[in-house]
């Protein structure tokens, strides 16, 4: 990930006249001043110091857009060719800052307040009350515990995906057909899947899977009444949509392994089993780690299927953190508490993923000295 391609080295002669420097500075400070004034006016209007016709902050958005454009133009005016290079990265940076950094800061202030969107009181600062409430909320801890289970299910998904990728990489006929067929679940929207599979195929009376279960000897199939079973079904549905994703990454990795390595192992008399464990699998480790990491990241966002199939039930047994917060907002429209839960979740994720990557790094490095 950190590898850097060849850099393009260009020597340019820029003559930037004092007037251009002036113009650039005027652009930057002028637009900043303009944005400041707009926000000041809007802020004053918000607290009823002055009265405006409109009550929304749309003008602030436009001011930000103008400011961002002026900053980009000023780069070229002030710094010539160097500025044109900055222009590749700057627009996206401004976009992400506006869309992530600012809302995150905003989220911190929301998280520390009691804010019910449907009540007329508006935002009430309440310090760490939300945090205390979270600490005593068994359903949130339950959702976190479920997330651990859901994440652990990735191990099984990985094994299945690896097996399928091995088969697809071996010499088979109609490989393209099978590849397209195996890819299909990934293309379907989780909402459609939750109807197609969760609501209709698993329908107890006449869903085809219930019929199959009855035919296999399960007299009274019920898929969503016991907590373990419901959780298992959610895992299966999620696995069904995302196994193709891991499979294709692993397949790409398998095809990138040079043939000579495996041929050499075979000439040396390795059995297929040993060939796999001592040649293929170690070579696939970096790809596997990437695939698993991305899969974990996607798994942590799991919500759509749960919201639509079980909406967390029975008794919160299938809740993921995302679906829990979603319902928390839907039922009580309490923005403050929901945001705090989400922020805690974010911190946990960042810590967990950092630890995971550090462990992987430590585990990989003795064998693969860089």
């Amino acid at each position: 990930m950190s590898s850097q391609g060849d850099l393009l080295h260009v020597v340019t002669l820029d003559r930037i006249t004092p007037r251009r420097v002036m113009l650039g500075k005027v652009l930057i400070w002028g637009s900043t001043l303009l944005m400041g004034i707009v926000f000041l006016v809007l802020g004053l209007a918000e607290y009823d110091v002055i009265s405006l016709e409109t009550t929304n902050w749309r003008a602030g958005l436009y001011a930000y857009l103008v400011w961002a454009t002026c900053i980009c133009v000023a780069q070229v005016v002030l710094r010539g060719e160097q500025g044109k290079r900055t222009l590749f990265v700057l627009p996206a940076t401004l976009f992400v800052v506006a869309m992530v950094i600012f809302p995150l800061l905003f989220a911190v202030t929301i998280a520390l307040s009691d804010w019910n969107l449907s009540s007329p009181d508006g935002r009430q600062f309440n310090g760490l009350d939300n945090f205390r409430q979270m600490w005593a909320d068994p359903f949130y801890w339950n959702a976190l515990k479920n997330m651990v289970w859901y994440t652990l299910a990735i191990a099984v998904e990985y094994a299945i995906a690896f097996g399928l990728a091995l088969i697809l990489a071996s010499e088979i006929r109609a490989r393209k057909f099978f590849r397209v067929a195996f890819l299909m679940p990934l293309m379907l929207s989780p909402v459609a899947v939750s109807w197609m599979v969760g609501k209709s195929m698993l329908e107890i009376r006449f869903g085809p899977l219930a019929r199959l279960a009855r035919w296999l000897g399960w007299d009274n199939p019920s898929f969503f009444s016991s907590p373990e079973m419901a959780r298992f079904i959610i895992m299966v549905m999620d696995a069904w949509t995302f196994i193709p994703f891991m499979m294709i990454m692993i397949l790409a990795g398998l095809q990138a392994i040079p043939r000579e390595v495996q041929e050499a192992a075979r000439v040396d008399g390795a059995s297929p089993w040993r060939n796999f464990w001592e040649v293929t699998f170690p070579l696939m480790l970096p790809v596997s780690i990437t695939a698993i990491l991305i899969r974990i990241i996607f798994k942590l966002k799991l919500a759509d299927i749960i919201i639509n199939v079980t909406s967390g039930g029975p008794g919160g047994a299938t809740d993921s953190v995302t679906s829990f917060i979603f319902r928390e907002y839907r039922d009580r429209s309490n923005v403050g508490y929901g945001t705090l839960l989400a922020m805690v979740y974010l911190v946990l994720i960042v810590v967990a993923i950092t630890v995971f990557m550090k462990l992987v790094d430590r585990w990989m490095n003795p064998r693969y000295l860089k």
Partner: protein, 305 residues
């Protein structure tokens, strides 16, 4: 009767038997998994042509154990006999479809444009924004992938309400762009790093500017990667439900939200739900079959170094 003189060695026979049984197992697994992957789609498509008794009896194969009827599609106003007439359901459906299409295409386009620029810049030039060098900037963008949508959801709900962007397509487009941007940057960076830098050097010597070289020389070469990231973004944004459910209500509601709301209110109206689901997934199934090459390319890049 003459005695057979030459025999296959017993180990050869065992080898062939082993080979055959292995083939059978491999194709058995392949066919089983194909069935697992395709059966739900088959089930949805056929159910949309069934009547209530067909569903109850569990009939599976059209024309063999039941006669296909247009009932499900009729309830959407999309069957042959209703296609010419006025239909409020169809108007509603088409509006949702258009919303989904516009937000998905808009967000993917924006993400590919912004993402390609960032990826190109980071793979070719050295930057310093304060303490941030190139690897830090890369990390800044790629780390957005870890951010779960739920963290942004409620702040955006409040912000969009203030900005009067709730229930607008532009609001969804901005948010979707944000969610797919890291993926695009990841794919495109890989793509640009595989393009030799000499190409641009030659173009610069011939008098093109940096941006001229980027647009006329580099982009045409990197086009397959751009298509791959575009398709991948399209799939993700078309299927997005969480943000759409929170941030839209009437005007900008997308297709997944419509599908989800139907399951709640109408009970089990099998044929029309099947028709609705089928039409929600059909565009992507077509894309999946036609552009499979690009999707696989997109997901594979970054995995293999």
């Amino acid at each position: 009767m003459s005695e057979q003189i030459f025999h296959d060695h017993s180990s050869d026979l065992a080898y062939r038997a082993g080979w055959l049984s292995r083939r059978v197992v491999i194709y058995g697994i392949l066919i089983l998994w194909t069935a697992i992957c395709l059966f739900p789609i088959y089930w949805t498509l056929t159910t949309s042509f069934k009547l209530a008794p067909d569903v109850m009896k569990g009939n599976m194969v059209p024309w063999w154990d039941y006669t296909p009827k247009w009932r499900g599609w009729k309830s959407l106003g999309l069957s042959p006999d209703t296609i010419g007439t006025e239909s409020t359901v169809r108007a509603e459906f088409l509006k949702r479809f258009a919303n989904s299409a516009i937000t998905a295409v808009g967000a993917s386009t924006l993400a590919v444009v912004l993402g390609s620029m960032v990826a190109y810049g980071l793979s070719r030039f050295r930057y310093r924004f304060g303490f941030m060098r190139n690897p830090d900037i890369s990390f800044f963008f790629l780390s957005q992938l870890i951010l779960p949508p739920v963290v942004l959801a409620l702040p955006f709900l409040v912000l969009y309400r203030q900005l009067d962007l709730l229930d607008t397509r532009i609001g969804l487009i901005l948010l979707y762009t944000l969610t797919v941007l890291p993926i695009v940057i990841w794919i495109m960076r890989d793509q640009f790093q595989s393009i030799p830098v000499e190409l641009e050097e030659a173009a610069l010597v011939d008098g093109l500017s940096i941006w001229g070289a980027f647009i006329t020389i580099v982009i045409p070469i990197a086009l397959p990667g751009m298509v791959a990231s575009f398709i991948l973004s399209l799939v993700l944004t078309w299927n997005e439900y969480f943000f759409a459910a929170l941030l839209t209500s009437t005007d900008a509601k997308t297709l997944p939200v419509m599908v989800a709301s139907q399951t709640g209110s109408q009970g089990i109206n099998w044929w029309s739900m099947a028709a609705l689901s089928a039409s929600a997934i059909l565009p992507l199934i077509v894309i999946g079959i036609v552009l499979e090459r690009y999707i696989i390319k997109g997901m594979a890049s970054g995995a293999v170094k």
